[in-house]
């Protein structure tokens, strides 16, 4: 086990310590905006105490990260594999372009969560947001699953504006009373038992990390959003 005290350290020192240690278990204490923690790192279990900086777990390649606190922008940017668990909220663009692995956010996510998420073969990204999500949720989404649970919120939709703009693959699950305004290319429907079976394990995992009853959470209306085409702009062009 390695303990890193961020106090007085530059992010590059912390990065180097994480990359160089043979220890699998790493505690990163007193994080105060230190960026790029565990960028591109695989095979470690990292516990961050404090407020990690932007691009936490960028290009993450199989490590697991637990944040005891809030995370800032671009959590899990272009993440390939692994697990990020945030005991708090996340900033903007969480899971930008993630291709694999899972991100669990106990509370709210900022703008553009899950933007350009994509899946490929055994790579299947999952983003679970416990509270509500900001606007442009799942913009350009091409694969994977985004789940917004809306726990403890009183809003009727739990998301901001322009959800699923440019979405052309994957699924968004919204646990909410009603649907938000959606762009034309999105198909929305009430979740079926089959749909629910798909997310049950992720909700279970959420409850394991943050508490709560799986049945209670699942026992509400869920909507499923998908794209009507994997080729949303096919008709846009004419060639010269």
């Amino acid at each position: 086990m390695l303990r890193i005290d961020c106090e007085g350290k530059h992010f590059s020192q912390i990065g180097q310590m994480i990359r160089q240690t043979a220890e699998k278990e790493i505690f990163v204490d007193n994080a105060q905006g230190h960026r790029y923690i565990a960028a591109g790192v695989g095979g470690k279990n990292i516990i961050v105490n404090g407020t990690p900086g932007n691009a936490l777990g960028a290009y993450l390649d199989g490590s697991s990260i637990t944040v005891n606190g809030n995370a800032q922008d671009a959590v899990g940017d272009t993440m390939n594999d692994g697990l990020i668990v945030i005991h708090g909220n996340s900033g903007d663009a969480a899971g930008y372009s993630m291709r694999g692995g899972k991100i669990f956010i106990k509370g709210d996510a900022g703008y553009r969560a899950g933007i350009h998420m994509k899946a490929y073969k055994d790579k299947f990204p999952v983003l679970v947001i416990g509270g509500k999500a900001g606007s442009f949720l799942g913009e350009y989404q091409a694969g994977g699953i985004i789940v917004v649970l809306g726990i403890g919120t009183d809003s009727k939709t739990n998301v901001g504006y322009f959800t699923g703009n440019g979405m052309h693959g994957g699924k968004i699950f919204l646990r909410s009373e009603q649907l938000p305004d959606l762009p034309q290319q999105i198909i929305a429907r009430k979740a079926t038992a089959e749909d629910m079976a798909e997310i049950e394990k992720y909700v279970g995992e959420y409850c394991r990390y943050f508490g709560g009853q799986v049945e209670e959470i699942l026992n509400r209306d869920f909507y499923v959003l998908t794209a009507d085409s994997a080729n949303p702009y096919k008709q846009l062009y004419t060639s010269v």
Binding site: F11, S12, G15, Q16, R19, R35, Y36, A39, G40, G42, N54, A55, A58, Y59, D61, D73, A74, D77, T78, N80, A93, Y96, S97, R99, R112, I115, H116, K118, A119, Y120, K123, E139, Y140, A142, G143, G166, H168, G169, A230, N231, P232, Y233, K234, Q235, L236, Y237, T238, S239, V240
Partner: protein
């Protein structure tokens, strides 16, 4: 049926005196121009399908074919040109955004052709490159701003990671998907042979090409296709693509139809799904965010790779470059408005951005005025057509040039500007296996190596003429250039004098 307003641009002319009815042309044309009329027993053509790629012309064993411009005429009008009329008809018919390929073909100024190069006479000797050493080696990367010594007084090596090029020319980004496997293979092999670099483009790196890593620049664009830690570590340099000269300010879009087989595997997205690159990187909304992406890449690769940032030449490119030079980036790439593309909206390609010559001159000056030119290397692209363009670019201040259109032509491209159709008869901008097979990577490599070798010889000749025997002494050496037929504002921006001054 609606009337087709558009008359074909080209006429395919067959000399029946020469034609031996071998039907090779039928097989060679993926556009279906040539067909055999069984009833009449003759070869016929559908001119409307011809893109003037010259495949049939070049492969016809009896030289029976030629392609001429149709002399079908509209009423002459200096304002409403033939092209503008046809584009109106096309859009009125389809309601679509006009799409085209390759670089801006409009008759806008080519400043390279208005710049002349110096040579020594008497006061300074010219140097004979065939017998005297003539150095074209270039290192790209950030240079230290001060000398640091250890306790023993020895100079500490505080140099950031560098790219070493045998000649100041590299193959610029063209993704696997926009061009074929065999085209990528040709570029990779040629880069290795030449001691330079080719660029993966934004479509990931095919597993077969990891072995050319020593000569590879991997690109990270907004879609992050195929980007993962192994990919980032596979090359010698990481290029962040912000923009492209052919289409500044907009993203990319590889239609699902081209996401097949290995393309899907390399991009790591399902076959048939569109590969959409958003216009911006959604983790970069400001210059400080660029710094964030630069350093997240450096962290992920343990500071072992220089990071390049590629931008399109736009109006405030000098300020943009200044910001990049202070972002931790090691190399700035500027792509001029004549740069090529596999597909871009025509209006954007032809109207957005500025010439690379002016952009380069103002960026180099700005970085020097701020005293930060040494922080970064400067690479320019966007229609570098020959070795004289390279010399002029270096003398204006570039460290090296990127070529792509010229490289494609070396591999057989005839600049028919129809890449977006995906039916490239030369096996370059296509994924159709029978067409791809027409480009032999060994032959493609040989021709690329020839091209760059020939240019390098010419560069040495011109350097020798100027009395310069090392390319770094040419860098930013604007006294070696003179303008001709340029106005004083243009000369001022280029930082050169007029011929005769």
């Amino acid at each position: 049926m609606a009337i087709n307003y558009i008359y074909p641009v080209y006429e395919v002319v067959r000399d029946f005196g020469r034609c031996v009815n071998c039907k090779l042309c039928v097989g060679q044309c993926a556009n279906g121009v040539h067909f055999f009329d069984e009833k009449k027993g003759v070869l016929r053509v559908d001119d409307a399908k011809c893109v003037n790629c010259h495949r049939c012309v070049a492969t016809c064993p009896t030289r029976a074919l030629k392609i001429v411009k149709s002399d079908n005429t509209y009423k002459e009008n200096a304002n409403w040109t033939v092209d503008s009329i046809k584009e109106i008809y096309r859009q009125a018919e389809t309601g679509g955004v006009l799409l085209s390929s390759m670089g801006n073909p409009q008759p806008l100024p080519v400043y390279w052709d208005r710049i002349l190069i110096n040579a020594s006479q008497v006061t300074n000797p010219s140097i004979d490159p065939l017998r005297e050493p003539m150095e074209t080696t270039v290192f790209l990367g950030s240079k230290p701003d001060r000398i640091v010594r250890d306790a023993q007084g020895k100079i500490v090596d505080n140099m950031s990671p560098q790219l070493k090029l045998g000649t100041p020319i590299m193959f610029s980004a063209m993704s696997y998907g926009s061009i074929s496997y065999n085209a990528h293979a040709s570029l990779a092999k040629a880069a290795e042979k030449l001691g330079i670099y080719y660029n993966t483009g934004e479509g990931g790196l095919h597993e077969d090409f990891y072995r050319y890593g020593k000569n590879t620049i991997v690109q990270v664009a907004s879609g992050r296709f195929g980007v993962h830690p192994d990919y980032l570590n596979a090359g010698e340099c990481i290029e962040i693509k912000i923009g492209q000269g052919a289409k500044p300010g907009i993203g990319g879009h590889l239609p699902g139809a081209k996401i097949v087989g290995d393309i899907s595997k390399t991009r790591m997205i399902p076959a048939g799904s569109d590969a959409i690159s958003p216009a911006p990187h959604h983790d970069i909304y400001s210059i400080e965010d660029l710094r964030q992406l630069v350093f997240s890449l450096k962290e992920a690769t343990d500071y072992k790779k220089p990071v390049a940032v590629k931008v399109a030449a736009v109006h405030n490119v000098a300020a943009v470059a200044s910001g990049i030079a202070r972002s931790g980036a090691d190399i700035i790439v500027i792509d001029g408005f004549r740069g090529g593309t596999g597909a871009a909206p025509t209006r954007i390609r032809d109207n957005v951005g500025i010439p690379i010559e002016l952009a380069l001159a103002s960026v180099d000056k700005r970085l020097r005025d701020e005293g930060i030119r040494g922080n970064v290397s400067l690479v320019v692209g966007g229609s570098i057509r020959n070795s004289a363009d390279v010399i002029k670019a270096v003398a204006l201040g570039a460290d090296a040039c990127y070529i792509a259109t010229a490289a494609l032509m070396a591999m057989g491209c005839h600049l028919c500007r129809s890449c977006h159709t995906g039916r490239c008869n030369w096996g370059i901008a296509t994924q159709i296996p029978e067409l791809v097979a027409r480009l032999d990577p060994e032959e493609g490599c040989r021709r690329l190596v020839n091209l760059v070798t020939a240019w390098t010889h010419e560069i040495k000749e011109m350097m020798g003429g100027m009395g310069i025997n090392s390319i770094e002494a040419l860098k930013g050496n604007r006294l070696m250039l003179r303008g001709v037929g340029l106005n004083s504002k243009e000369l001022e921006i280029l930082g050169i004098k007029h011929a005769g001054e």
